[in-house]
Amino acid sequence: MRFMIIVKASAASEAGVMPEESLIAERAAYHEQLARAGVLLDGSGLRPSADGWRIRYTGGQRSVVDGPFAETKELIAGYTLIQVRSRDEALEWARRCPPPQGPTADAEIEVRQLFELEDFAPGAAIDRMREMR
């Protein structure tokens, strides 16, 4: 089963400030641990929301809203995708994730389990989802 460890954005990440060398090193060490355990599938940091945009759907209309977005804590700054044997293993790996904003700064990571397409009942829409992957 696959889980995504999501690192939430911070004022610094949203300002496009690159993390300190020590934080990058910690993150690299964590990813190396995951890779050596054979559980790391993918991972990346995301550029600040200033470089992104949203499409807003209202009353049947759609409009483009350019970033940055205000609600920093709701935004994500990066993710790590792992494949493990159980939910408990995912929890244990998440516990080992280094504090994303440094040892004392408040921060949050969130872990979500991925749906496997096989979790869905067969259907035409699911087949099309597969084709688009």
Partner: protein, 424 residues
Amino acid sequence: MTPPSATHRAIDAVWRIEAARIVAGVARLVRDVGLAEELAQDALVAALEHWPVDGLPDNPGAWLMATAKHRALDRLRQQALHARKHEELGHELDARQAHVVPDFVDALDAARQDDIGDDLLRLIFTACHPVLSTEARVALTLRLLGGLSTDEIARAFLLPEPTIAQRIVRAKRTLGAARVPFEVPGADERAPRLASVLEVIYLVFNEGYAATAGDDWMRPALCDEALRLGRTLAGLMPGDAEVLGLVALLEIQASRTAARTGADGRPVLLLEQDRSRWDPLLIRRGLAALARAEALADVPGPYTLQAAIAACHARARVADQTDWAQIVALYDALARAVPSPVVELNRAVAVGMASGPAAALDLVDTLAADPALARYHWLPSVRGDLLAKLGRAEEARAEFERAAGLTRNLRERELLQRRAAALA
């Protein structure tokens, strides 16, 4: 039975993550993987005693490692004492004694963080030592490196638990009796020893890949175990082309898992699979590993070549776009690297796709006399397929029936019988 508490589930998860590292770290001290596993288990028992009361330590892996190593040192001390009674205290034990100070383990851990990987590598090479039978290597590897219980291994291989338990006990005894050193083999031995490791990982994967609908879920889980082992090994030996080649092969094969079985549970042949069900993430990982393997090797080895063949399929959006000429060329190289009639037969299939069934049939007919293929169901199956394409239905039907009679896999037999019936 009450469901396990959150703490117990956490301990189990920590154990599965850490078991191999701990056994490996302890084995370096005691130079005996059987004893190392016992001591690591003792540490687990200690965790089960303390953690539900005291809570999980901040670094549970380090806690387990330190506890297991302390027990190892106690054991060595006892042995030294015992030896001294007999006035046989050797220099080695003297040296070990000198190191037995309270903060020894902590100092060791701090100084040797990088060596944990080396210990793990030693453990892999030891568990896959050629002095052991293939079955023993597989069982011991899953036990020591996968952290699987004997029950899980037994379920995965459809064998009674005592059989697996005994296999593991004997394997440890054999390693001890043969005085197999706990080390990564030197340059002279490295190639055959690595081949033995890669073979074990590939066997575990194929065992999982051969699972059919209705099997215990531990069977398909073997594919994940093999992938994890392969990825771990690739992390430990990033400069070895064939390790990466094997990982590439496994990633690409695993990418097809969802497409290999139809809704009715029947196997779906590669060219008939719904490629939209292939896992693009695993394909991408496989292609990346293959690119690294190819960049490292002057002459690609057999796993890299097989991965390259798998990659030809992975790159084709639809079966009709498969680059069969490239696949034939890769089979040529594979036949040079590991000459075998089975490789020749697969090459003939590729020739059939690249140049037409007549050319392939000539090749298959020259192979038909090979005694190694006499009982191999794939030969009449391929021959039947080529004959059917050439419009020789009656001969094709006879070949499919012959193939059905030779295979031991029930699903495959049904498939072959259906193909025969369709030609009647």
